[in-house]
Subunit: 304 residues, 3 copies
């Protein structure tokens, strides 16, 4: 027991000395565990019958939905209140924080039908775009993409309302589960699909058009972040126009980089410049070495 | 409470309007949670003493195994029955679904000894191939590969029996935990090893020979999936022959792409063509820039 | 029931026949579940108030810390004892294993204040280096990097004390959650930061200087592991000097490869040679094809 006392004294002394990684006596931060539970309930509201363990009959759907909404409303309101107390958004009128948290939560839950409509287009893109998908049910019960994009579209709503911490905690929850890191700030069009997901990263200021298809290991990142906090708010991530396909492992950097509509970006390509519409960008390293530079046959059947 | 009623009405109206992502009044789908639990129990049956929290003595192994098998048999039979009700395999005689589910489950569990034999070769390949492995026990208790390949080999058995949804739910469970996405359809030889695992993707129609070693971030993918659902069933993913090594981040695409036996594929290489046996394919971008094209010394000690 | 008996007999026969993946009647190995719980408690000790669900007040911190330390001490001592029984470190005097386990545990827990000091520099590097970070609290509650590096620094202490299995089980726990595989053996300097984390791998004998910034999908790996177990203990992974930045998807291999101080390694680059200090290594494949070889403007604003 003496050992524990000594170890405690050393550690508590360290808490006083190295302050930056403590959070004592501060404001109560949103709870990661609570936000994980809320996010799972929001997925159940978006996809009724899929994230529940048992089948829901139409006759009971109204009661089940009302109960779940009531519970989510209460829980999310608590977390949003903590977030507002921690960091009140600049545009928030100086009204009572509790009232603001309630309004924000109700407004957010009111956006669920709209989010469902765009998720429906993502689900169609996933099924239409992947010959390995045997049915739409398979996409819904086993594709990590569905979970990742649903959580990003939820978090994006809260991001637009300047709610601190919660959107990032939500997308990190999905990142842990799917391996894909979609920042809540990214603007993503309809009919989006990322196959396999692991290692794909989409930065805060990226803009993605409609009907964009990507694979795992794709980065839409910043060119240089050596400027650090001075770059905050600046557009640092690429714009991907409509109907672009990006193969695994491609890295596309820079806030002024625009991938023109209808382009195809090959696997493992590294890009820091804009690309005209309908371009095919492909790393033919192997062709150069094995097939001779002139041979472009391999490239042809890669094109969309 | 009025707010909740209003939100509920909007959402329920959306369920009626946007139908494709609902699953109401349909057939009961296999449960992700149940399949996760079953998969963990199957791992305990494959690796007795490793996935259990306490040591199993030989004297009790028969009783412990019988109890676990009995419980897995019942649980898996339930899920397979749901799968058959959802999508009866075309070759299934129109007998009672319940009987078919029972036979399929018993047949599947009867394949466990055979699966153990091939997993034993994978475990040896992992230990022999990684100088960082201090013991076979370390491989078994801490390498994500063991879990990922065991689950793929289990799921592959069910895939061959045309069981819908369950194989993909199983491999996605492993994908979430290990970051590696091995499709249940892939045909994988003996003595397979993937180090680190994260981001490696092996597609549905890939064929992998014996003694193949891969690293994280390797893609065995489809050349173009622009054909979408029309390509279903076609061989879309590469063939990797015996004794090939593939370094991190290599992307190999196409159903007609064959990597010849004994070849080494370097890190970050992008390939859409076949490679002759005993080839070394390597991206020497840096050599071209820093060491001059002619200097190939760096390449030599890379070769197996 | 007869079916179960038959399946059991086949499986138990397989346990006797295929021995290498069993662990029956052996020594009790450290428990993965116990080590996961201990690791989470260690994170609570390192970051008081962040990994707890409710705010801790200064007045209660001493009591809370003492209770947690007492519980961790007991639990970790149990696991370390199992590890020492399984594989006694060569330098350990032949004293009672139980006493050795206790001393090792106390010594390890005594290193927590020192580990907190270096983690403080990592947290500063993460906040300073990422314009997407809105606050230090956001970094702590939502960046996977913090968890991954904290666990590696904890595991590294046990690795230096030759404790078997436990350090790898700890870093694999973090690998599963963050997608980043930092080996417990890697020597990592202060002010380290890896953004996004997924797919980044740092090998056992890698050496990383101070103020190094990396992204997801970066490999610090071994050139060839064809030598397998014969290479054990040899330096097989690169050395990264101070103030180096490594962009997503770069693969750097080899124990004699040194990336000189102040260098920048571009995305998707593949390197097996040393690079002089202040180098910029960049794959300009796209420039060569689209912008013409001579055009190096794109390269300029990439430089730090």
């Amino acid at each position: 027991m003496e050992t524990v006392t000594e170890l405690t004294n050393q550690l508590v002394a360290s808490y006083a000395r190295v302050g930056g990684i403590n959070h004592l006596d501060g404001k109560n931060l949103p709870s990661k565990r609570a936000i994980a539970a809320i996010t799972q309930d929001l997925l159940r509201l978006l996809f009724p019958g899929y994230f529940d363990e048992k089948l829901i009959h139409s006759s009971e759907i109204k009661v089940v939905t009302a109960e779940l909404l009531d519970s989510v409303l209460g829980a999310l309101e608590d977390e949003i209140r903590k977030s507002l107390e921690y960091n009140p958004p600049s545009h928030l009128p100086k009204q009572n924080i509790t009232t603001a948290a309630h309004s924000l939560t109700v407004e957010f839950l009111g956006s669920l039908p709209r989010i469902r409509e765009i998720l429906q287009t993502d689900m169609e893109a996933a099924y239409d775009g992947d010959p390995a998908a045997k049915s739409k049910e398979e996409v819904l019960v086993s594709y990590p993409f569905i979970e990742a994009i649903a959580v990003q579209r939820l978090a994006h709503e809260l991001y637009l309302k300047d709610v601190a911490l919660i959107p990032r905690i939500m997308t990190e929850w999905a990142h842990t589960r799917t391996g894909m890191d979609l920042h809540p700030g990214a603007q993503i069009g309809s009919h989006f699909f990322v196959d396999h997901c692991t290692g794909t990263v989409v930065g805060e200021t990226a803009i993605i058009g409609d009907h964009v298809k990507m694979y795992h290991g794709v980065t839409l990142g910043a060119k240089s972040t050596a400027g650090g906090q001075q770059l905050r708010g600046k557009k640092r991530h690429p714009t991907i126009e409509d109907r672009v396909t990006i193969y695994p492992g491609a890295t596309i950097l820079g806030g002024e980089t625009v991938i023109g509509a209808g382009s195809t970006i090959g696997g493992n390509v590294f890009i820091m410049n804009s690309v005209a519409p309908k371009s095919l960008v492909i790393y033919d390293g192997l062709d150069m070495r094995v097939l001779n530079k002139a041979n472009k046959t391999a490239v042809v059947d890669f094109q969309i």
